[in-house]
């Protein structure tokens, strides 16, 4: 079975690199985007098996990226896990309503839980 591709859309370079390293070592092929626009382009072009999406991004934000992914029939079935520090009930509800498979608050989840969520969502 070929390796699954994960796209991480995250503007914090350090966070992005850490997660890329971790998930690569867990057997995934990682793609990276540092802002919303390039994230949307890569999603269209590469059609990843899963998207890890930050919400506060330069340019178009994560909510908009999510809306675009879900509005396009070519990408609408790609699962999106929001990984953000926004943790208000309204943000969570908005994200899930827009079609996110899950919503993880960065500072409240340890690395193992994040990997576990990725595994259970991607299969």
């Amino acid at each position: 079975m070929s390796k699954k591709n994960i796209l991480i859309v995250e503007d914090d370079q350090f966070f992005r690199e850490l997660l890329t390293k971790k998930l690569s070592s867990e057997g995934f092929t990682m793609l990276e985007a540092a802002n919303g626009e390039s994230g949307v382009e890569m999603i269209k072009e590469k059609k990843p098996d899963l998207i890890l999406l930050d919400l506060l991004l330069p340019g178009i934000d994560g909510f908009e990226v999510l809306s675009k992914v879900k509005a396009d029939s070519n990408t609408s079935n790609i699962p999106v896990i929001i990984l953000s520090n926004l943790g208000q009930q309204e943000d969570i509800e908005r994200g899930l309503k827009l079609g996110a498979a899950d919503y993880l608050i960065k500072s409240q989840f340890d690395i193992d839980s994040i990997v576990e969520k990725v595994r259970s969502t991607i299969k």
């Binding site: 914090d12 966070f15 850490l18 997660l19 390293k21 208000q88 009930q89 960065k106 500072s107 690395i111």
Partner: protein, 237 residues
């Protein structure tokens, strides 16, 4: 005046939120270091990193407190659902288990409540009870005891959290629920805190139509009493 105050709070919320970005990266990197993702660690290295990780968790806790505070000023909405209050209290106790073990604090949980559900904002109520219970743990002496009593009648659920720690000096009692206030003996004992926990707890409990008060004697300990109406009589300010 009010608009200025709200602008200031929005700014604080944004600034505090920005603090979360580096803290989250630090958390992730430390966890990966501890898992051996960057190679084997010596025993000493592991110990140091574990300590940094613990301190960083405290930072996350403080930043969340500050953010909650900033949002409280902006009339946060309550998201009301039936909440099993018994389970919530037990969960709060569980989250402090590690800290209690470190200080060899024993816990007695007397569950006398017949009714366990209240209509509440689960996250906010958890935060309120957690802030009170965290204080009981923080201000208990090593080897101390904490007694948690849950009771109910047809109208309300009553929670009592009693510790036998440093207590509150008389002249501090009046200001205890004030924003950023910290007790004199708490500061002297160099116990870390933001002075926001009880302010936030009171605000949340009162928004649920509840009440909070305490009895305390310096050097003998403190007891907090919380009453929450079962039907969630709300008082949105």
């Amino acid at each position: 005046m009010k608009a200025d105050e709200n602008q200031k709070r929005d700014f604080v919320a944004l600034a505090v939120h920005k603090l979360k970005t580096p803290i989250s990266s630090i958390k992730l990197s430390l966890e990966m270091l501890l898992e051996g993702d960057f190679g084997e660690l010596s025993l000493e290295e592991r110990k140091v990193i574990e300590r940094i990780h613990q301190r960083n968790e405290v930072l996350i806790y403080l930043v969340n407190d500050l953010l909650n505070l900033a949002q409280i000023g902006n009339k946060y909405p309550l998201s009301l659902v039936p909440v099993n209050f018994k389970r919530l209290v037990k969960l709060v106790i569980n989250t402090d288990e590690e800290e209690m073990q470190k200080k060899a604090i024993s816990i007695r949980f007397e569950d006398k409540a017949v009714i366990s559900d209240v209509i509440a904002d689960k996250e906010k109520m958890f935060l309120a009870v957690q802030n009170i219970f965290d204080n009981a743990v923080k201000y208990s002496n090593v080897g101390g005891e904490i007694i948690v009593v849950l009771e109910s009648d047809t109208e309300s659920i009553r929670l009592k959290i009693q510790d036998f720690g440093i207590g509150i000096i008389d002249s501090d009692k009046e200001k205890l629920f004030t924003e950023f206030f910290r007790g004199k003996n708490a500061k002297e004992a160099q116990l870390m805190g933001s002075g926001l926990g009880l302010f936030i707890a009171k605000d949340i409990i009162e928004k649920h139509g509840g009440r909070i008060w305490f009895e305390s004697k310096e050097g003998r300990g403190t007891t907090f009493f919380v009453v929450i109406p079962i039907n969630g009589e709300l008082r949105q300010k």
